[in-house]
Symmetry: C2
Subunit: 216 residues, 2 copies
């Protein structure tokens, strides 16, 4: 399937989040805004998720990337429509860019759009794209202190995926410290401990997102 | 030694990089702006570097952190002055904040100031703090595609530290791809492959930074 690339569509002065939300509500399309540091595993999560869900739901992908379409290329071949937004140096996606690319999808025949934001644990958490919710992905290799050091995303997210749990034994990551800190920042948010590359703990994620899409 | 914490000192409208640079030039103080994603190992690099260099040079530390002094606490006990700049949500340090905290150091008795920027691979690379140079730290756990996906920092940096090389065997990181992509983005920049926690390859870094400080 063709990957569509759109450049220079950001406009920070136009907050179009409500327009995006209204349109998605009307069409009953769930939008998930996936946020993490670079390399925490957003694209691999999407690879696994497409494999699991693509026969159950109609899926679309928006890839936020600074300058390339590398992530989109990795997701190609699953038969789902992908639109790349190149921010050209910009550190996050915005609602204006999302509204501008939504016509690339057939929303009447779409159940969920996964937005892979630019790899950045700080800026994307400040911006409402019009999504139903933000999803935080954090890797054990980043250390156990991320919830307390970068609290905004962990407060905002509807769920936290702790990825690369297979690497814990090779690092000084302390899972108890992580859980305590996360609980102090956001005591209500569900935490799923997974490894996308080693296929550990993925069923809880598939079940959780299945329910979220089904109930929109 | 007391850790000083300064809040709300950012002012994006005042570019004070030239003032910072002039002052550091006059006092013959090298300033290194360390930039990486969250959790790539900036603080651990500083821990190792303080152990190696603190008897050879007079060192100061500026810690950029969103809301805590956790990194500063980790560096405490080495007997070097540390000033924390809490950005309170901000995604990078700026030259105005640096100029404002420089009087906290005795610059006549300082050889080098290491600035640990906010964990963010995108925004800090756009801002000149008045530093002598930017240093990029990237972890193998982030994947081998970072130079091509986030080219700004890799173009700007005077040296690249590839950290956590001990984790390569547990991941799908391809060192050849990394080197090729880095070479395409910046063919002249030195690459040092290290592990701060396992003390691998650190001598090349100590020697390199020793020369940089000595030649200021």
């Amino acid at each position: 399937m063709e990957i569509k690339i759109r450049k220079n569509v950001l406009d920070r002065n136009k907050n179009m989040a409500n327009e995006v939300r209204s349109l998605l509500q009307e069409k009953k399309v769930l939008m998930v805004n996936i946020i993490s540091s670079p390399g925490a595993g957003k694209t691999t999560l999407l690879e696994r998720t497409l494999e699991n869900l693509k026969d159950k739901f109609k899926i679309g992908i928006i890839e936020g990337d600074i300058t390339t379409d590398r992530d989109a290329q990795r997701l190609n071949g699953h038969g789902v429509p992908i639109v790349v937004i190149n921010t050209e140096g910009g550190c996050h996606l915005d609602s204006h860019s999302i509204l501008k690319v939504l016509p690339e999808f057939n929303l009447d025949n779409t159940d969920v759009i996964f937005v892979e934001n630019v790899g950045n644990l700080v800026c994307p958490s400040h911006f409402d794209l019009g999504e139903d919710f933000k999803l935080a992905v954090v890797s054990t290799a980043e250390g156990d202190d991320k919830p307390i050091k970068y609290p905004m995303l962990f407060r905002e997210a509807k769920a936290i995926l702790l990825n690369k749990i297979d690497l814990i034994e090779y690092t000084n990551f302390n899972i108890t410290s992580f859980r305590v800190d996360l609980n102090n920042v956001n005591g209500r948010v569900p935490l799923m401990e997974i490894s996308c590359t080693k296929n550990l703990g993925m069923e809880q994620w598939y079940n959780w997102i299945y329910e979220e899409i089904s109930s929109k």
